[in-house]
Amino acid sequence: MSQLSTKHLLGIKDITEEDIQLILDTAANFKEVINRPIKKVPSLRDITIANVFFENSTRTRLSFELAEKRLSADVINFSSSNSSVKKGETLVDTVNNILSMKVDMVVMRHSSPGAPHFLSRNVKANIVNAGDGTHEHPTQALLDSFSIKEKLGDIAGKKVAIIGDILHSRVALSNIFCLQKLGAEVMVCGPITLLPKHIASLGVKVELDVKKALQWCDVANVLRIQLERQQIKYFPSLREYSLYFGINKKMLSELDKEIVIMHPGPINRGVELSSDVADSEHSIILEQVQNGVAIRMAVLYLLAGAKG
């Protein structure tokens, strides 16, 4: 099968295991492309893509933009900070105005969970969710799975611990859906205040001791503490968080096995990861960034590929 079952990529929950495998396989081809002397292919040369970011982003927006340019698409960038949104325009009006300029696809980040789902029902364009509030961040989960597969050969049967601020993390939720669909076992670990109350109902293990989580897993995906989303104090101080949940080289050397360390970025060095871990041979953080471009190329290629 070479076609996705959906017109939009709104979340991992909405797509099938076959869709995920197709995206990972296609991304492997694009990874080869972006390592060629000439890294550009003409596939999307008659497509215009709008990157509509209602929330701050550096690496995701850059990664999407680079993926779009590597595919020869025309790209326009929109950010809410200098737009009519400030003047009271609705989401649908904003996007329809962009689409009236003959835009074919919209990559959107929004602080409200479900915003891309709402948009997909109200506008005529392929929508790619680049993060909606604390809900989903599908391309991050896909690139994480791609990176695990590349490093360990397979995902089925592997044990992945997601460590940190699970409560505010869209990366955690998308990763849980993606890894489970691909047959991995998933554990979440963090301070009890940063674990959603019913997280175990998703079929994940819950662990409060980071050392036990590291001993259990093959891969530790370490998340950032999202202070910008926290209106109240979930733990006494960053120093205390680092003391109980930060991962350092000594903890890894005490394990009786080698594990892979991942992080979706940006890293708070010295908080969730010490520098010697982030820069160690265990870490595949920079591979994740490179794989992000390949995954986004695959998603855009497959969504744009059906007859228009």
């Binding site: 080869e32 292919v41 595919l71 007859k307 228009g308």
Partner: protein, 182 residues
């Protein structure tokens, strides 16, 4: 479904040997020559030629697989996108004589896309095309092979099927059949 045999195993073997001798004649000691098999069907033929060429001349010519899916001109004109295959080229083709190898030359669109894809690996000195079957009179682009096994007259409603033993068939053979949904 009607089906007629174009080449059998013995005839294909003779053609492969002829190809090797033609290459030796034109490329001497293969100093600057590389072979590229066009995905998805070219690599099977390419591997056979590389092995046979080494047996006959003692030279192992550098070879790779080239996939042109992302360079095709029918993207968004099909009901769904084509699935890409592996590109495996472990050398630069800058200044090289490149021989593109495929099983069937039909409309010439795949070869055009392949030449586009190939440029991403450098500027070749010269490009040649080798195909087992040249379907005459069906070309959309002005592309002609430098080496061909057999030239056949076919209709667009017909299909040229290349079967290889390596691909779990009883014998190497080339057939012309009618398309199920022309």
């Amino acid at each position: 479904m009607q089906k007629r045999l174009v080449l059998d195993e013995v005839q294909i073997d003779i053609i492969l040997r002829r190809f090797c001798h033609q290459l030796i004649e034109n490329h001497d000691n293969f100093d600057d020559t590389v072979l590229l098999g066009l995905q998805p069907r070219g690599p099977i033929l390419l591997d056979k030629i590389v092995i046979l060429l080494e047996k006959i001349s003692g030279i192992k010519v550098p070879s790779g697989y080239l996939d042109a899916t992302f360079h095709r001109d029918d993207f968004r004109r099909r009901d769904f996108p084509l699935k890409a295959n592996e590109t495996k080229i472990n050398f630069l083709i800058e200044g090289k004589k490149v021989i593109l190898v495929d099983d069937v030359l039909y409309k010439g669109r795949s070869v055009r896309a392949a030449m586009d894809a190939m440029i991403a690996f450098g500027r070749p000195q010269k490009v040649e095309l080798m195909v087992l079957v040249d379907r005459k009179l069906t070309r959309d682009y002005p592309i002609m092979p430098d080496y061909y096994g057999i030239r056949v007259h076919t209709l667009t409603s017909e299909h040229v099927v290349v079967q290889w033993k390596d691909d779990e068939h009883d014998q190497d053979a080339i057939w012309i059949t009618e398309k199920v949904n022309p």
